[in-house]
Amino acid sequence: MDDVLLGRIITASTLSFHIIFATLGVGIPIVIMVMEFLGIKNKDSQYMTMARRIAKGFTVTIAVGVVTGTIIGLQLSLIWPDFMRLGGQLIALPLFMETFAFFFEAIFLGIFLYTWNRFKNPWHHWLLNIPIVIGSTLSAVFITSVNSFMNTPAGFDLAEDAFVNVDPIAAMFNPSVYVRVFHVVATAYMTAAFILASIAAFKLIKNKFKKDREYHMKGLKVTMAIGLVMSLLTIVAGDFSAKFLHNEQPEKLAAMEWHFETEPYADLVLFGVLDEETQEVNYALRIPWALSFLSGNSFDTEVTGLNDIPEEEHPPMVIHYFFDLMVFFGMYAFGVSVIYFIVKKFTRFNEHHPALLYAYFLTGPLSMMAIEAGWFLAEMGRQPWIIRGYMRVAEAVTNADGLGLVLIAFIILYIILGFTCAYVLIKMFNNSSAEASRAEYYGEGVDAK
């Protein structure tokens, strides 16, 4: 294999492993914050226990998130040294600020996790949630800013192979940053909520501890509510993204929709198979005029087709599938959470019917797969560029030998870490009843409200 491909696979495997833990790292603090709030406010020891148990599992996922984050941070220089040499000149500021946000979060997370018993006033402990949520969300904001720069570079002029008039603030607040930050943060909150909803649903389907049912029903309700709100925001963010791509990165939009001719009244293509030679799309579901509408809020919006973009700048056509998967999985979670509340509020059916529980259970894994698909779409969609319009990935890859070995070593590492992490989490919660934890933390006699 050539070095560019190897480098891309190494980076892709690190990022797709890291993103699972990073997403949880950004999203779970919000859920813990809500649970602890409900617990303190309603004096409900079940919500308090929930916050503590989630935090306990979170310690494990955050550890893997931290180490894989460290890996990708350094791998950027190890695999793409020329890119980082250039990046240091242009986007060091958000990278640097990301570590500050991360530092801030790490300090307060350390305090939060080990001070459950040290405050007389529980609200003081709750306040620790605020710097954690700020820190974790700001990390996502800054790192997304770096990635946005790679998609829509700004804040410098190019003069004969050198960068002049570098403006770090303009580079940080490049054109795509707002849309992407919104999308990343909303989907992280959404996915974390649905992952926890999946756990609650799973525990309602299959659980050794019958007395835990009430606890898991409460957990399901709160996580479904957070998931519903966040998936609504995600839909709004997705709509912004389509309009943004239409204006700023038409080649990505065209490739993800297999849109070849520039035309108004463009159709939205769902699923299907592409014959790249003839540009024919078979077996697809076409929604007439929808792509034009998504791009510009009117059916006569002219959408740029791939035939008007130089061929060597075409992203790979495979991103269409990632787009379909992202939308489909994301919509699934949204739809299921809507059904949950409709059944619960407006019908006389049981919202904990086994068939429904299986549907809830799928929301978490599918949302996570939507995240992965979305990032594959975003990253492959800017190929062949590493900095769109300025540097190709082929120019950025290291000339050092040994990329093949490095790839194998890291793949083995991720498999081992992934399995051990899952093993520890399953062990942690499989044999311990939530009600027993509650009694341990808050005393036998305490009743849930």
Binding site: K56, T59, V60, I62, A63, V64, V66, V67, G69, T70, I71, G73, L74, L76, S77, L78, P81, D82, M84, R85, L86, G87, G88, Q89, A92, L93, F96, M97, E98, T99, F100, F102, F103, A106, I107, G110, I111, Y114, W116, N117, R118, K120, P122, H125, P168, I169, T398, N399, A400, G402, L403, L405, V406, F410, L417, T420, C421, V424, M428, N431
Partner: protein, 344 residues
């Protein structure tokens, strides 16, 4: 824009963060190793809970010091990404894998219902291998192991592997970890009023102070062999190295006499501080001899200015937070002693 000397600001900031990282990481790595060693030798009942009590809330913060350093160095001196990034592909990847194993298995073991000896082994032993592998970067920065050809820069791995200077630095790093962390744990156990643990840590510290003294002398000798220019400029700062030795004598004396462990640990920090800054100052202006000179490779002025501003604002946020963390977990007698706490 103000006319500031960014190349010096950058290196001072980074060197200070590296100093901070080495101190906290040495405590962290050494504690993990001693924890495993205690399990093997049956001393864990005395010492392990003291070690866990310290490690739990801070291990993540340790890691951030490191991230901060390498993000900062690429930001202030982007050429480092190119030269060190290219040459360190293999050693860097090894260090990353070790760091990943240590960080995750520490957390796995601390969270598991039943801690495992094999997991304690993983984070204990990687704790000594990480400093060894990271110290390779300092070795390379002395120059002589990198050559430039038509394809770009390359690392001469053979040259590195058979170099006495490289091995001296590797042993220095390992001994330093054991020395600093046993010194800190002695202090921490004495705060916890745990006499048995304190005695054990104190013994370990006294055992490691002799190799510490020997290896520091070796470092000078092999630097003289390897980079005579740097060795000569280090002699201009002989007083820094002298102060370092003095601080070491005071530290060992205090701990030997079982007096004032807090002051003794400050002396250990000063001992390392004088030597580290002495080494750093005498190395200037090179980050990587002779390719990266701080005067010619500093980032463009606009970025340097914004990084400096971000750094100052960031510190305003971090310092109070770090003080809070220290007050809650290190300078809090009740926590350290493990007394029952009131709560909700």
């Amino acid at each position: 824009m103000m006319d500031l000397n960014y190349e010096l600001i950058g290196i001072t900031v980074l060197w200070t963060f590296l100093y901070g990282y080495i101190i906290v990481a040495a405590i962290d790595f050494g504690a993990g190793f001693f924890n495993y060693y205690a399990i093997e030798t049956g001393q864990h009942r005395t010492v392990s809970h003291i070690i866990q009590r310290y490690l739990s809330p801070v291990w993540e913060v340790t890691n951030v010091f490191f991230v901060f350093f390498f993000v900062g160095i690429v930001g202030f001196y982007p050429d480092t990404a190119y030269y060190l990034g290219t040459t360190l592909l293999i050693p860097g990847s090894i260090a990353l894998i070790l760091l990943a194993i240590r960080g995750s298995y520490y957390a796995f073991n601390a969270s598991a219902t039943k801690p495992r000896k094999s997991w304690a082994f993983l984070y204990g032993v990687t704790g000594l291998l990480i400093p060894a592998s990271l110290s390779v970067v300092l070795v390379i920065s002395e120059g002589g192991y990198i050559y430039e050809d038509g394809d770009g820069v390359q690392l001469n791995i053979q040259e590195l592997f058979f170099s006495s200077y490289a091995w001296t630095i590797v042993f220095l790093a390992i001994i330093l970890v054991l020395y600093i962390s046993s010194g800190f744990l002695t202090y921490y156990a004495s705060k916890a009023k745990n006499k048995d643990a304190m005695e054990t840590f104190r013994n370990w510290f006294l055992i490691w102070s002799l190799p510490m003294l020997v290896i520091s002398q070796f470092t000078f000798l092999s630097l003289r062999e390897h980079n005579y220019e740097h060795f000569q400029s280090a002699q201009d700062y002989w007083y820094l190295f002298g102060l370092s030795l003095l601080a070491m004598i005071i530290a060992v004396f205090l701990i030997w006499k079982k007096r004032n462990f807090g002051l003794a640990f400050i002396m250990i920090m000063l001992q390392f501080g004088f030597a580290f800054y002495g080494y750093g100052i005498s190395k200037l202006p090179y980050i990587l001899y002779p390719y990266i000179d701080i005067n010619t490779s500093v980032v463009n002025e606009a970025m340097a200015f914004s990084l400096t501003v971000a750094f100052v604002l960031g510190l305003l946020l971090l310092i109070p937070s770090l003080i809070l963390l220290l007050r809650l977990f290190i300078f809090n007698a009740e926590y350290v002693e493990g007394k029952n706490e009131e709560g909700y």
